[in-house]
């Protein structure tokens, strides 16, 4: 199977399991809605019964936003005009590449979200690997089986990404970049240096991601219990199938870019209240779902590629789990 065939196969597997896509979207809402409600409360309280709310409801009340920002703490400090439309995406992309520190409450929410993903990762990959319905019991059973294995893997991931973002990023952008541009008096040249370093940093992050993705795929498909072994297996697989693995990752990255570009074209602005507010919200959620689809397609296509090279489509070493009967039920018998 070629990389592109694997990508198509992965997309097909994701599309055949829409419940999983809906599920991870629900997971995203599960984390984001409580915080959104909290922020809504802050905004509502700050506006009170002020006429400033009229302008804020019908468009942008920049003065009010600045006043709110000046007194805000915690979650509130993240509420800025940059949340409008595609600016929100640029803000996060830029923060990712520039390793911008986020407020503790956002880091906490993101950490919780990551843990939830670690939990569902086994169920997701298992479902895509089997390429047939596993139903909720099968999904959650697989999630449970792999949760603690993937937690071990997450410890390794955390250490690696801590080095990548905490050390390598600082070395690249705070030291090397500053040294490179110290005597540069042309902005486009400085940007070229920075863009090149983004490529280097992005490639490093991508390399790590590919390894950890295939470690998870091998863990599920081959029922590996040792995560260091899974990482070693992933490295061997990537080494022997470098072209296909990299091309597949590139295909998934292009899919991500396409989604982002499409959202750049249609992202709603500030808008007003009423129907347009909900339309804007729907557009935003469609974008989020599309991003989630890309993420799932990435895993599904990597699974498809691995199976095509080392086994066969739908092969999973571990027998399909069924949700364990309660011991209490046996006691009744």
């Amino acid at each position: 199977m070629t990389a592109l065939s694997a990508w198509r196969d992965g997309a097909r597997r994701v599309n055949r399991a829409p419940a999983l896509l809906v599920g991870v979207w629900a997971l995203t809402l599960l984390v984001s809605v409580p915080l959104t409600i909290a922020l809504r409360g802050m905004l509502d309280q700050h506006l009170g019964r002020s006429l400033a709310a009229d302008a804020a409801a019908s468009g942008v009340n920049s003065d009010w936003m600045q006043e709110f920002g000046d007194q805000a703490t915690g979650l509130g400090v993240t509420f800025k005009p940059t949340v409008i439309g595609f600016g929100a995406v640029l803000d996060n992309l830029s923060a990712f590449l520039d390793n911008t520190t986020r407020p503790v409450v956002i880091v906490g929410a993101a950490s919780a979200y990551v843990v939830l993903w670690i939990f569902v990762a086994g169920g997701l990959i298992d479902r895509y690997a089997r390429d047939r319905a596993t139903r909720a019991p099968g999904f959650f059973a697989a999630s449970g089986v792999y949760f603690f294995r993937f937690l071990q893997l997450a410890v390794v991931q955390w250490i690696v990404y801590a080095v990548v973002f905490g050390v390598v990023h600082g070395w690249l952008f705070d030291r090397l970049y500053e040294r490179l541009i110290h005597e540069v008096s042309v902005e486009s040249t400085a940007f070229a240096y920075r863009a090149a370093l983004y490529v280097v940093f992005g490639a490093l992050v991508a390399a790590c991601t590919i390894v950890f993705d295939y470690a998870k795929v091998r863990a599920v498909v081959e029922d590996r219990r040792s995560m260091p072994g899974a990482i070693a297996g992933a490295l061997r697989f990537i080494q022997r199938n470098a072209g296909a693995a990299l091309l597949l990752f590139a295909a998934n990255f292009v899919a991500f870019l396409v989604v982002v570009a499409l959202y750049a074209l249609v992202a709603p602005g500030a808008g007003g209240s009423g129907v347009s507010m909900w339309m804007a919200c729907a557009a935003g959620q469609l974008y989020v779902i599309a991003r989630l689809w890309v993420k799932l397609t990435c895993w599904a296509s990597q699974t498809a590629l691995f199976q095509s090279r080392f086994a066969h489509a739908g092969y999973v070493a571990r027998r399909e789990e069924v949700w364990p009967e309660s011991p209490a039920a046996e006691a009744i018998l």
């Binding site: 809504r40 993903w117 400085a190």
Partner: protein, 656 residues
């Protein structure tokens, strides 16, 4: 040398006493009759070695004591010694406000006076080498390590009206840019670079050490400066180039000497680089004198010429119409190199703008900084206040004027945020930049409102808050005056101040006197609030209640003064019938109750509905309505924020 000094003195004496035909400033930099006292005149010869980043210079200063007291010493600014080491007052103050990396060993700058000679010719002839008697003084603090003010005791005092000719030689090392001065690559911006006399006043020398948060102060005069740079380097400078000579022999072979001249200015700055693109244009106006504009542009900004010229035209037109004509006939716009740190600074007849490689339309970069720095030709260049002590008199006046001029031409303009290391701009076309709040920088003022009374000498402001008090607060209280008294009155105040104090050194009280006289009312209470105190303005509606009573409704409104500062405000109560009722509250009491018996219920109450008082630090609390839309607004904005949050979460999950 002696003969040259006498010739120079004769020229200056002639220039300061001649009254003749109208000024013809554009071609030669000469202005006749003199516009200023011309009591500090500099003839400078300097040579730049770009490889070693060294300047070797000599100057002849013809100085006249225009005070009523004799001068027992001479005091010179040696600004570049502020960057000699981390122990200077400038660097220590900078460290209080900014914790960045220390400059590397090659980044420092310095200036070393190697010789001072004095000649007095008016009365008893005197020639004296004063080099050995020079010493550093610290009038502002006890920092023995600060070497930015040099005092030279005189063998005998220089009496009122007496001339002195002072010859100074020096060498200087050009720093990596501090305070908009220095070099990067082959870009050089050279300002505050020569030994420069302070301002002698009746109270003595006003010659402050160089501080991190303040700028400059000096007397007007004639500058004639010869600059020798490598051949092929483009030069821009204060004044008009009178001569350009390639040096074909001798130690200066391979160089070119550019001679610039300008009358009636109080400083001289210059720049050189082989990379500049040179562009020219002309400002013309039915009632204002024409101005030749010269733009020195970075190659990567080719295509932005017109934006620079249009912004400069905007300034010359509106400032000229509002305040008074720009008298020099020429202006040089310098587009500084990336990372030079030289952007956004004013010098007589020359200023640095500042743009970006990616400069989208609809955003006022480079227009904002260009209008502002060009505007300093009026407030700083022509009206020469003491920036060490009263920087608000130029920076604040100019921030107010900049916002006003921008609003005339560049409306609407939008918020732009730069991403990816600050390189990639994104324009938020939903967020229109407002003249009143964004242009006058309300957010920054709100943050630092309580830090210092504006009457505190600027160089003593709390570290890093000087900008908010100097630029923002002044612009806000001037714009408040405009909304309170009307533009016609404020325009006459500013124009009168300009006319009365051009080519002079006004003090704050001079402006306050002008304002009260022109407005026809004593504005002292207002200036007591905004200038002599750090109290904040905050008016608000405490409660709005309307209840059925008999056939109609009884409405009560309580308005409050939450802040300490006082200003008269209107209170607008609107009823369901559409009837508005406006009350005029003197704003003195802590609160005030208004009661109404009307056929219709009230809908809303608002303090300062026209937002006259732009200094109000919390405008959200200025109103209350009985039909609030806060829930709708909060829902709308929290839903937008949720997409941002979800996207943020997805960027984390990309690593899972």
């Amino acid at each position: 040398m002696q003969r040259m000094r006498r010739a120079l003195l004769a020229i200056v004496l002639t220039a300061t006493t001649t009254s003749g035909a109208s000024a013809q400033p554009g071609v030669t930099g000469a202005i006749d009759p003199p516009l200023s006292p011309r009591n500090a005149n500099y003839t400078i010869t300097a040579r730049l070695d770009p490889v070693t980043r060294t300047i070797t210079g000599s100057e002849t200063i013809v100085w006249r004591n225009i005070t009523t007291k004799p001068a027992a010493d001479l005091q010179f600014h040696l600004y570049w010694n502020a960057w000699k080491n981390p122990r200077s007052t400038f660097m220590r103050e900078r460290a209080l406000a900014f914790r960045g990396p220390s400059p590397s060993a090659t980044d420092w700058g310095s200036i070393d006076v190697t010789g001072i000679n004095l000649s007095l010719v008016n009365t008893l002839r005197l020639d004296a080498d004063l080099t050995a008697s020079r010493r550093f003084v610290t009038p502002d603090d006890d920092n023995a390590n600060d070497e930015t003010v040099l005092s030279v005791p005189l063998p005998r005092p220089i009496g009122p009206g007496e001339f002195a000719t002072i010859d100074v030689t020096w060498t200087a090392h050009v720093p990596r840019t501090f305070a908009r001065t220095g070099a990067i690559g082959n870009f050089f911006f050279i300002a505050q670079w020569f030994p420069k006399l302070g301002v002698l006043q009746d109270a003595g020398w006003n010659c402050h050490q160089f501080h991190a948060g303040t700028e400059f102060f000096s007397d007007y005069g004639v500058y004639d400066v010869s600059l020798t740079v490598p051949r092929g380097f483009v030069v821009g400078a204060t004044g008009v180039q009178r001569e350009k000579r390639d040096n074909l022999a001798g130690p200066a072979v391979g160089t070119t000497t550019h001679r610039y001249h300008q009358d009636d200015v109080h400083d001289f700055a210059w720049t050189t680089s082989p990379d500049y693109l040179e562009r020219t244009a002309r400002f013309e106006h039915p009632t204002l004198p024409p101005v030749d504009m010269r733009l020195l542009l970075q190659p990567e900004h080719a295509g932005q010429e017109q934006r620079h010229f249009d912004a400069t035209r905007t300034t010359l037109k509106y400032y000229g119409e509002w305040y008074g004509a720009y008298p020099y006939g020429h202006i040089t716009i310098v587009d500084p190199a990336f990372q030079s740190g030289a952007g956004g600074m004013e010098y007589p007849t020359l200023f640095t703008a500042g743009t970006r490689w990616l400069a989208p339309a609809g955003v006022t970069t480079p227009e904002g900084v260009t209008v502002h720095e060009a505007g300093h030709q009026f407030w700083y260049g022509i009206v020469g206040n003491n920036e060490f002590e009263d920087a608000w008199m130029d920076e604040g006046f100019n921030t107010f004027s900049t916002a006003r001029a921008i609003a005339q031409v560049y409306d609407p303009n939008y918020l732009a945020v730069r991403y990816f290391g600050g390189f990639v701009p994104w324009v938020f076309k939903d967020v229109v930049v407002s003249r009143e709040t964004d242009g006058n920088r309300l957010a920054g003022y709100r943050r630092d409102a309580r830090s210092d009374a504006q009457s505190t000498p600027t160089f003593r402001y709390f570290p890093s808050t000087g900008g908010s008090i100097t630029y923002n607060k002044t612009a806000l209280w001037l714009n408040t005056m405009e909304r309170w008294l009307g533009w016609a009155t404020v325009q006459r105040i500013m124009a009168t101040q300009f006319e009365k104090w051009k080519f002079k050194h006004p003090a704050p009280q001079d402006f306050f006197d002008t304002a009260s006289a022109v407005a026809g009312r004593d504005l002292t209470p207002y200036f007591d609030q905004v200038y002599r105190s750090s109290n904040v303005f905050d008016y608000g509606v405490q409660s709005l209640q309307t209840e059925r009573e008999g056939d109609g409704y009884r409405t009560t409104v309580i308005v409050r003064r939450f802040g300490e500062a006082i200003f008269p405000v209107d209170v607008l109560v609107t009823f369901r019938s559409g009837e508005p009722v406006t009350e005029h509250w003197d704003g003195r009491d802590r609160w005030k109750l208004y009661t109404y018996q009307r056929p219709a219920a009230a809908v809303s109450a608002q303090v300062d509905p026209n937002r006259v008082l732009l200094l109000d630090v919390d405008y959200t609390n200025n109103s209350k309505t009985l039909a609030p839309k806060s829930a709708t607004a909060a829902t709308k904005w929290s839903l937008k924020w949720m997409v941002w949050l979800q996207d943020c979460l997805l960027s984390w999950v990309a690593l899972v």
